[in-house]
């Protein structure tokens, strides 16, 4: 990991216009990604993690979605203002994605070879034969046994874990600078999850790929990520180095999340903590801290205004009235 920042997300806002009103799925998200870094984005379902990442490569379905503001700077160029043609040469090439459900993310009607070769031919300019050799090599790296044979099979002939390996091989086949993995293990068996995470960690370290790992599991984050963004209702409420956040969580939501992870060193008979209530429906939210109804430390001001972000340097920041001067 170097200090060179390759991706800067600045005040990103993505809104969805639905019948009931405007859903501010992502509302002012900022973070930086450095070369070779692994960044975790953690939050409950509906907190805007996936939308953030689809917005990065400008793939929000429009309508109903719309990127309402902000910048996504990749090596200084704003991906949101780039012509589609230039953007396409980055997608799958410099920035590639892996999705949650490996069962539905591969085209069931096309052979694995077809799906892998088309990407390699498109971005690397290899001919089909060389591309297939490259694809087989990637499958081998991803731990698929007998890749020369299996490459000609269809997705339904693979198990869930194997398909996710195929997705990883496909995602890394063009040596991307950034791999965005959207809950890559949530749809898999627990026993497979660790294998897939290890594989990702190993391969990206070897290739020097930066990773944005989206997950709702703090366990996954702890083992994988250098830095962390905690999202709640479309906003980043806390970010910083993983170790620091685990050692000293500042935002009440982060504190709640960490406490709700079961631990082996917990005394027997101790009850597992949970955060009460439900994550909010983000349609037409009033200006307030969206977490206050579930927060034990909520104050009056929390109901009236969203707190400014307090920076602590070195990437550490938190958005909570507890740490804001003007109370």
């Amino acid at each position: 990991m170097t200090d060179e920042v390759i991706l800067q997300v600045k005040d990103l806002k993505t809104y969805f216009h639905v019948d009931e009103g405007i859903v501010k799925a992502v509302d002012g998200v900022s973070f930086n990604l450095r070369k070779g870094e692994t960044l975790g984005i953690v939050g409950e379902s509906g907190s805007g993690k996936s939308v953030t990442n689809l917005s990065i490569i400008n793939m929000i379905p429009n309508p109903p979605g719309r990127i309402a503001g902000g910048e996504v700077l990749f090596h200084g160029a704003d991906l949101l203002k780039m012509p589609v043609k230039d953007l396409r040469s980055i997608r799958g090439n410099k920035i590639s994605m892996i999705f949650q459900d490996p069962m539905t993310s591969l085209n069931p009607f096309l052979r694995i070879s077809t799906q892998m070769v088309e990407t390699i031919v498109l971005h690397q300019g290899l001919d089909k034969k060389a591309a297939k050799a490259k694809a087989i090599e990637m499958l081998k790296l991803a731990g698929i046994p007998a890749p020369e044979k299996r490459i000609d099979q269809y997705p339904h002939q693979f198990s869930g874990g194997m398909r996710q390996r195929v997705m990883i091989a496909m995602g890394l086949s063009c040596n991307p600078e950034i791999l965005i993995a959207d809950e890559p293990t949530s749809a898999l068996d627990v026993t497979i999850q660790a294998q897939i995470l290890d594989l990702m960690k190993d391969l990206t370290a070897r290739l020097g790929t930066a990773v944005i790992l989206i997950t709702h599991s703090l366990g996954v984050v702890a083992g994988m990520c250098d830095t962390l963004c905690v999202m709640y209702a479309g906003r980043v409420v806390e970010r910083g180095a993983t170790g620091e956040i685990f050692a000293e969580p500042k935002h009440p939501y982060t504190q709640g999340l960490i406490k709700s992870v079961p631990r082996l060193d917990q005394a027997q008979g101790d009850r597992l903590r949970s955060i009460r209530g439900q994550p909010p429906n983000v349609i037409d939210l009033p200006d307030c801290c969206p977490f206050y109804p579930r927060c034990d430390k909520a104050m009056d001001i929390c109901k009236r205004k969203y707190p400014a972000t307090t920076e602590y340097g070195n990437g550490r920041a938190v958005s909570c009235w507890l740490y804001t001067e003007a109370k």
Partner: protein, 309 residues
């Protein structure tokens, strides 16, 4: 694969058997024979006629005789078209109907799929609204309204096409245009709506998101990743569409005076020409069953997930 085909062919036998048996008894038990509506025949003449057609025998024997004849490809004599057997009548008319039906189905699939895809890709824009309005017209307006109105406009007022009839050779192509378009219109409309819906659904699927995230051009995404999956519902609709086209050809052949099976079928129903009705039903069912069989196989080729066990 071969096993699957053999099994499918074998499974057709009971279906055909049930159809033939049902229609045989239904027709024999129906009130009013083919000769009852004519003016009173002398008793002796009637007996002779019944004897000629073996209708004086016990029902069981008649049934066995009929089954035996069918297996030999003999559908019996027509009660009304004297001196012609049902097999001959069907042989004369079937090619015309098949020609008309296949052209109509071809038009319906070609235009239906094309319009459906364009409409899905231009969802909620004017192309979509135009196409879908046309589709509602196709679904709402009955064949027997479209047909005569086309005749009125293109033949009687504009004199561009022949009103009706069936001519062989080059002039025949002109005579074919209106019946084929009329017959294809409702199925064009349905296929357009069907393919629009299924293209839209595939466009929303995860694997299309993957394809776009790989940086593929939108045209490649559509041609390579969307179409195959989106065409599956259309393929499975071909069976029912063909059944509908067979039924529709009854009206279209009547309106445009095409010498096809459909016209003969209506005649036989109006005349209570029972052997001819049964012959028509058997041939129609055979075609339908065969068509569904072909559709199943095509479906299997398109969808790798289907294993022929």
């Amino acid at each position: 694969m071969t096993k699957f085909i053999i099994r499918r062919v074998l499974s057709l036998i009971p279906t055909m058997f049930i159809i033939v048996t049902l229609s045989f008894f239904l027709i024999r038990f129906a009130p009013g024979g083919p000769f009852s509506s004519e003016k009173k025949l002398p008793e002796q003449v009637l007996q002779n006629i019944l004897k000629k057609y073996h209708m004086d025998e016990p029902l069981g024997k008649q049934y066995l005789r009929y089954m035996g004849d069918i297996l030999k490809g003999d559908l019996g004599p027509s009660y009304r078209y004297k001196d012609q057997t049902v097999t001959e009548l069907i042989k004369q008319t079937m090619p015309n109907s098949i020609l008309l039906g296949s052209i109509a189905l071809g038009l319906a699939v070609f235009f239906g799929v094309g319009v459906g895809i364009i409409s899905a890709l231009k969802q909620n824009r004017w192309q979509d609204y135009m196409a879908m309005s046309l589709a509602v017209v196709g679904i709402s307006v009955p064949l027997f309204v479209i047909g005569p109105i086309l005749q009125l406009v293109f033949a009687m007022k504009l004199h561009l096409l022949p009103t009706s009839g069936w001519i062989t050779g080059r002039a025949g192509i002109l005579a074919l245009i209106m019946p084929a378009f009329t017959l294809s219109f409702p199925y064009f409309a349905y296929i357009a709506r069907l393919s629009r819906g299924s293209v839209l659904e595939v466009l929303r699927s995860d694997y299309i998101r993957t394809a776009r995230a790989k940086g593929l051009k939108e045209s490649v995404v559509v041609a390579k990743h969307v179409l195959k999956g989106a065409m599956l519902p259309v393929v499975s609709y071909l069976g029912p569409a063909f059944a509908g086209i067979i039924t529709g050809s009854v009206v279209v052949e009547t309106v445009f005076v095409v010498p096809g099976v459909g016209k003969i079928f209506v005649q036989s129903a109006l005349n209570r020409d029972y052997t001819l009705i049964m012959g028509d039903i058997i041939v129609y069912s055979l075609i339908l069953v065969a068509m569904n069989f072909v559709v199943d196989i095509v479906y299997g080729f398109l969808d790798p997930r289907i294993a022929y066990k």
